[in-house]
């Protein structure tokens, strides 16, 4: 009962902040709503007894990545010159296509998990037994080793790319 109340309150907040992120005019305010959104998501994780995920969510997204967003938003002058007006109708069309794709993806996942409910059930007992930090660590270095390493390679490539782009002609 209590959990349900907390969950629905958080869910409302998350949706509300999400809407604010896309509707607010001021980019800095957008970023702030995004942070609030992330914090609420982290609380949902806590509700699911996934403290590790919650803490990492705050540390990586709210504390790391969004700080850099804020950096960029503050540094780059976002008041565009009037001639660079972007076609809002085209933007809207692209947005609808993307939203439709996302909806399709989520429905596909939901349907898949409805057909194969076992994948969630197998992990749950492990979470209950030990701390979930260890569980995540074990899973990352055994079952998901290849995706993990691929992701780290991807990050490395992105980092090198960023440095190459940012480097001025010396």
């Amino acid at each position: 009962m209590l959990e349900a109340i907390v969950f629905y309150t958080l869910a409302t907040f998350i949706l509300g902040f999400g809407v604010m992120v896309v509707t607010t005019k001021n980019p800095v305010h957008c970023v702030l709503f995004l942070v609030a959104n992330f914090l609420c998501v982290a609380m949902i994780y806590v509700l699911l007894a996934a403290e590790f995920l919650a803490v990492i969510q705050i540390l990586v997204y709210a504390g790391g990545i969004v700080v850099l967003y804020l950096f960029v938003v503050m540094l780059v002058n976002l008041r565009r010159p009037p001639d660079a007006q972007i076609d809002t109708r085209r933007q809207a069309r692209v947005g609808f296509v993307l939203a439709a794709l996302l909806l399709a993806e989520i429905s596909a996942i939901l349907m898949y998990s409805a057909v194969h409910p076992s994948s969630v059930a197998t992990i749950a007992p492990q979470v209950a037994s030990g701390g979930n930090t260890e569980t995540v660590g074990m899973l990352l270095y055994t079952d998901y080793l290849v995706p993990f390493e691929v992701a780290s390679m991807l990050l490395l490539v992105a980092m090198v790319g960023a440095i190459v782009l940012a480097r001025r002609e010396a």
């Binding site: 540094l75 780059v76 002058n77 782009l165």
Partner: protein
């Protein structure tokens, strides 16, 4: 890729590190300074014009208000210029006491410089330590002439007062104290890694360029030019005492710091010799009751703590006031080097460099 226009940053005139009411308009690329304009005049009181409307003797008091942290040096520069104009003979005892006062003043001024310079770079304790010793000098001045900041401590042709009894002993004690305290400052700064990182290689200027810009005093000697008016054109009793002129090699902020620190030691040395050789005799020479220098013009410079302070005075030989009065203030001339020094450095270095050239706005603006 991004819009990288310059950022204009207005440093001062109410900024804690501009040592008064200096205004520096910086043009920044990120935190790097690409250009700098200096705006002065917030403390302009028209001292030079004022002096043209004052009696010759009254002007001493106005010179106090120029470099108000080194009033005795200003007094000395002015009275010696008038003495030169009138070809007055100053008694030997007066010249010795003037030397002692000027060197005490140098110590006080350098204490103030050291404190504020260190404070600008974040070493706040040095500030209070240096002011503690400056206080001792002020006490000595207070005992001598009753004032602590604007001394009015010289007269044309000599001195207004002889030293009070026992004063020379106190000066000696002060010299002993200061020696240990300077070692203390050095312990906190000279070999401090952060201090060295903050000051070495900052605002490097070589000797030729320093001369071309018109730097003088410790700022010039830091660049390795051994120019010191006390040595080159001795005045007061400097010809009769033995001292060295410390010079730097690299011409950066650290060298200018080292030069001033060494000047503490040299000043102590001069004071001790002057006290040892202090002759007996009158303190005021033969001065006509009505001061009216013969028509003519003269320029005379002395070594103030901040550099060469020169007075150019024209007398028409008829009136009781100078016909033309002009000061060559070391702070003003040294300040000219600031744009050259800060370009290419970071914002944090700007405050280090303002401190490094040691300016007093009362003297820059006059």
């Amino acid at each position: 890729m991004f819009d990288t226009s310059e950022l204009t940053l207005n440093l001062g005139p109410q900024h804690p590190s501009t040592h008064g009411v200096l205004r520096v308009v910086l043009r920044l690329d990120g935190e790097r300074v690409v250009g700098c304009d200096i705006v002065i005049g917030y403390l302009h009181r028209g001292i030079e014009k004022l002096c043209e409307h004052r009696d010759w003797a009254q002007i001493v008091l106005i010179t106090d208000r120029m470099d108000y942290v080194a009033a005795a040096s200003n007094n000395l520069g002015y009275v010696e210029t008038v003495e030169k104009l009138m070809s007055l003979e100053v008694p030997r005892r007066a010249r010795y006491i003037r030397t002692i006062l000027a060197e005490l003043q140098r110590i006080a001024s350098h204490c103030l410089w050291l404190g504020t310079h260190a404070m600008d770079l974040g070493a706040m304790t040095v500030f209070l330590y240096a002011f503690r010793e400056r206080e001792l000098v002020l006490d000595l001045f207070e005992e001598y002439c009753g004032a602590r900041l604007t001394y009015n401590s010289m007269r044309i042709g000599g001195l207004p007062l002889d030293i009070p009894p026992g004063w020379d002993k106190k000066v000696r004690t002060f010299c002993d104290i200061l020696e240990t305290k300077v070692a203390e400052y050095e312990e906190l700064l000279t070999h401090n890694r952060i201090w060295r990182d903050r000051t070495t290689g900052i605002g490097v200027i070589d000797g030729d360029e320093a001369v071309a810009i018109g730097l003088s005093g410790p700022a010039l000697r830091g660049s390795g030019v051994p120019r010191d008016v006390r040595k080159d054109e001795p005045y007061a009793a400097y010809a009769e005492v033995d001292f060295c002129v410390p010079i730097g090699t690299a011409g950066d902020t650290y060298d200018r710091y080292l030069v001033r620190i060494e000047e503490f030691h040299q000043s102590i040395r001069i004071i001790r010799q002057a006290l040892d050789g202090l002759p007996e005799g009158p303190i005021l020479g033969k001065v006509p009751r009505l001061l009216r220098p013969p028509a003519g013009e003269t320029y005379h410079a002395i070594e103030s703590p901040k550099g060469e302070i020169g007075f150019f005075i024209v007398s028409d030989g008829r009136s009781n006031t100078p016909y033309r009065f002009r000061v060559r203030p070391p702070s003003f001339c040294n300040l000219q080097a600031l744009p050259r020094l800060v370009t290419g450095h970071l914002v944090s270095d700007v405050v280090a460099l303002i401190g490094s050239i040691d300016i007093v706005l009362g003297e820059v603006d006059r």
